[in-house]
Symmetry: C2
Subunit: 406 residues, 2 copies
Amino acid sequence: MALIVQKYGGTSVGTPERILNVARRVIASQQEGNSIVVVVSAMSGVTDGLIKLARDVSSQPTEREMDVLLATGEQTTIALTAMAINGLGGKAVSLTGAQAGIITNGIHTKAKISNIAPRQVRQYLKEGFVCIVAGFQGQTLEGRITTLGRGGSDLTAIAIAAAVKADMCEIYTDVDGVYTCDPRVVPNARKIDVIAYDELLEMASSGSKVMQSRSVEFAKKFKVPFEVRSSFNTNRGTIVKEESIGLENVVVRGVSIERKQAKVTITNVPDKPGTASRIFTALSEANVIIDVIVQNVSVSGSTDISFTLSADELEKLGNLIDRVAAEIGAGQVTKKSGIAKLSVVGIGMRSHSGVAATLFESLGHGGVNIQMISTSEIKIAVIIDEAQIELAAKLAHTAFGLDRVS
Amino acid sequence: MALIVQKYGGTSVGTPERILNVARRVIASQQEGNSIVVVVSAMSGVTDGLIKLARDVSSQPTEREMDVLLATGEQTTIALTAMAINGLGGKAVSLTGAQAGIITNGIHTKAKISNIAPRQVRQYLKEGFVCIVAGFQGQTLEGRITTLGRGGSDLTAIAIAAAVKADMCEIYTDVDGVYTCDPRVVPNARKIDVIAYDELLEMASSGSKVMQSRSVEFAKKFKVPFEVRSSFNTNRGTIVKEESIGLENVVVRGVSIERKQAKVTITNVPDKPGTASRIFTALSEANVIIDVIVQNVSVSGSTDISFTLSADELEKLGNLIDRVAAEIGAGQVTKKSGIAKLSVVGIGMRSHSGVAATLFESLGHGGVNIQMISTSEIKIAVIIDEAQIELAAKLAHTAFGLDRVS
C-alpha cells in the first residue's frame, strides 16, 4: 500500500462536473489500496473574481485581508471535493491549510512555509479517510491566515508529501507532462519519462513553465519524488526525482525556448572595479528583471557588456541605462528587441564533452546566427534572432537525438 | 467611551458599494469615541450560490463539509469589510468565527455555542482596531468548522457582546425596528422605542420575524441589551432589554398577525388519560409543527380537541389525524384552512386586568368572529377568519392606544 499525495489545479476542479471527475479518480486510486491526500486549488476564475471584489472596495487592499479573502477559494474547493467523494460512496474529509498544519512566516500574500505539523492528516488517514487539503494557504504561529503566492498549491502538495513521507506526489495539470520541447514548436517532441530536479529547474527558468521553480526546489531539498501528469486522461506523466546513474546517460534532456526577449549592449565600458556593479545595481533598484549577462575579456582598458531581458522589461527600462552609461564614462548603448533564447538542458553534459560544439554546428548548418552564448553546468543557452527560433529548436532537437521515433 | 457590537446582515453588505457604506458608518461610530466590533453575514445571494454548488456535486452533501463550504461566505465579507475600512483610512482586522473564539458543539449546520473566548478580539480592540468578525460560524474544541444555522449571525453578535461585556449590540437590518404592527397592514403602526425580551419573543413567535427567537433568548439569558435598526438610514431603532418599571406601564406593546393558518378539530375524543398524547405524539413523529392547542372541559365523558398549524403543514398531515381519531375512538375530524391568528403582546398585562375584555369587545364591535382563544402570561391570541385579519389588526391596534399620533 502506497501513500500518495495528489494535487489538482484550478482547471482540473473548474466545474462541479470536473470535481466529480477528480472524486472518481481519487476513489479509484484508493480502491487500488493506496492512502490518499488530495491538495486542490481554487476553481479556475474564482481567485480572479475575489481580487476584483477586493479592488471594488479598496484601491490598495490590505495584504492581511487579501489572504483571508483568497483563502476562501481553496476552502470552497476542499468542501466540494470532499462532498463529491462522499456522495460517490467514498470517505473524505476536508482540511484548510491551517488544519493541515501548514505553518508559515507572516509575509502576507507570499508567505514561506516554516513548518508542517500534519497531525490531523495522519489521524484521518489512519481512520481510512481521504484528506482533501486546501492548497496555497497556511497560518502563522499566531493564527493569522496566509497565502503562499504563485504556485502555492504545488508547494503545499510537495510540502505535505515531505511531511507525511509520501511514496509519490502526483501533480495533476492540463498538460501530459514535461516535453523535450514545446510540441507546438517541435511536432516531434516527446514526453520525458523521468527528469532530474535540476534539469526541470533549468528548463523552467528557460521558459518551460510546467511548475514554479520554488516547488521544484522544495522537492529537491526534501527529496520528494513527484509526477507531473494530466487530470483529463490516465496516461503516465513525467517523474521528477533525484539524479541517478540512468539519468546521466542522456546528454540533453530537452530544449527550451523563450521568445520576446531583448538585448542591451553597452560598448567601451571602462575596465575598472565597480563599473559593472553600478550598472546592475541601477537595474535592480528600478526592479528590472534581467536574464543572461555576457562580458567579454577586456581589450585596451575597456570592454563591452551585454545583457538580455524580456521585451516587457525593456519598456520599463526607459533611458535609465543611457544615464548610467554616461555616468561611468562608457560608450554607445544599443537596445534591440526581436530576439529569443534557446537552451539545451541535461545533467549528462557534466560528463560529456562536445555538447556546445554539436549545438553550434547544427545551428550554423541551418543558417542560424548566434548573437550571444551563456553556459551553466547543465545548460547551454544561445541568443538568436526571434524569427529563427522555431527553426533553431527543430535543429537542436534533432541534433541531440530527441525526436520521437514513430 | 462605549464598547459597541454592530451586526450587519446579508442585504446590508450585499454589494461592494454597500460594504463601503458599512465601512463609513463604522468609522463614524469609532470617531465618536467608541470601540467597535462588527459582525457580518455573507453577502446576500452568496450562501444560496454555495448551496447550489454543493447540490451540483452531491445530492446529499456531508454536513461537516457543508459547514466548511458555507463558512467561506462570511469569511469573504469580513475580509472585504476590513479592506474597505482600511481603504477609507480606518484601522480594521478581520477574524473568522474560530479566530474570534466562538466555540460550539459538533452538531454541524446547526451548532450551539458552548463557549466564547474572544482573546484576539480584546487584544485588537486594545490596539485600536475595529474587529470584523464572521457571523454564523464557529469551531469545535477539536478545530472543526461549524455553522450556527438560521439567524446565526445575530447570535454571534449577541454572544460576542455578552463575552466582551459590550455596552450595546446594534443589529442592523433592512427594517427600521420593531413596529406595533406590520405597517403594511396597519398604516398607523408606530416604531416601538423600547421593548422587553419576552415581548419580542412572543411577537416573534406570532409572526413578527425581526429576529430569530434563539438570539433573543440568548440576549435575555446574558442580559445583553440590543437595538434593531436600519443600515440604510441613521434613525434610532428599537431597543430590546430587560423588563423595567417604565416598560410595564404599557399594557399592550404590539399586535402580531399570522396568516395562512389552518385548524383541525377532532370531536368526541374519549376523556381518558393518554388520548391527547396519542394524537400529538403521532403529529410529532410525522414532523408536523403545530401552534395553538385548545381543549375544552369534558362534557359527558368526551371532549373536543382543536389545534392550529400553518396551511403548509396541513398538506403534510394527509389522513394521519383521521387514522389516529379512528384508533382512539373519537368522532368526526374537520380540517379548515383560510384562518389567521392575531396576538396582542405586552408584559403590562401581568398587572393589568381587562385586556382580554377590551380585545374581544373591539373585535366584536367590528363584526369579527373569534373561533379560538389561547392565552399566555403576556399574550392573548385569537383565531379568526383570514379574510378579517386586517380589519381585526386595525381594531385591536386602535383599542389598545397604539395608533401613531400625528
